[in-house]
Subunit: 135 residues, 2 copies
């Protein structure tokens, strides 16, 4: 009777690690802000209240499905506040909550780094590509 196979051990390790990641705060937050649309919504709301249709227009290219889904998760996480005004026509406003605002410095730190170093990255890519293409 053999011990566990390599595959079984690997799977166990992966499951364990996944469990670790699931409880890792940094991981959870990163999973959020890493979302394709989350940061775009965040910066859009950073300069003031926006209506659903405003967001749809400002973030050109987002589908309704993704915008709604993004707003729901942000609302659930307490980063964004949703205010519905029952009238005709319906009006829904979204703002950053204080918690959402407190995240902006971190987001802006990444943004600042990006704008400062994108040139280096692109230069590196060009070098890398020309070198690999030569082979």
């Amino acid at each position: 009777m053999p011990t566990r196979t390599a595959a079984q051990r690997r799977e166990a390790a992966r499951a364990e690690y996944d469990a670790f990641l699931a409880t890792c705060p940094s991981r959870q937050v990163l999973d959020r802000i890493s979302d394709k649309w989350v940061t775009l919504v965040l910066v859009a709301l950073a300069d003031g209240t926006k209506r659903y249709s405003d967001l749809c227009r400002v973030i050109a290219g987002v589908s309704q499905k993704m915008l709604t889904q993004t707003l729901r998760t942000l609302e659930r996480d307490g980063l964004v506040a949703r205010t519905a005004t029952l009238a005709v026509p319906v009006r829904v406003d979204y703002d950053l909550t204080p918690l959402g605002e407190s995240l902006m410095p971190a987001v802006n730190a990444v943004k600042a780094w990006a704008e400062q170093h994108i040139g280096d990255i692109e230069a590196s890519r060009a070098t890398y590509d020309s070198r690999t293409a030569a082979r």
Copy 2:
């Protein structure tokens, strides 16, 4: 002569959107650090040189394919340096480049925010879920 098909319009829209994204530095960088494995590799390398097999072990749960792929893009972007030692057996070391190190403060800012506010987020989720479940 028919007008453009739905597929053609879809492709045109996507191409336009891709072009927009391509010009956004923040987006490009966020796409990188948002990758499931990128930040894990970054923090693993932040405390020193690591061999391929070290990374494989430290970041339990990553597949070889993903680890290699992650390292390649990081190398291409100039965030990570790859050093191969031709010997038997082959030995390959990875380090952060100065550029990669300069990114760490921004990553740590997000990490710090995460650890500080994860409680608020989880509380918000609990409230949100109990409220929606009640309906």
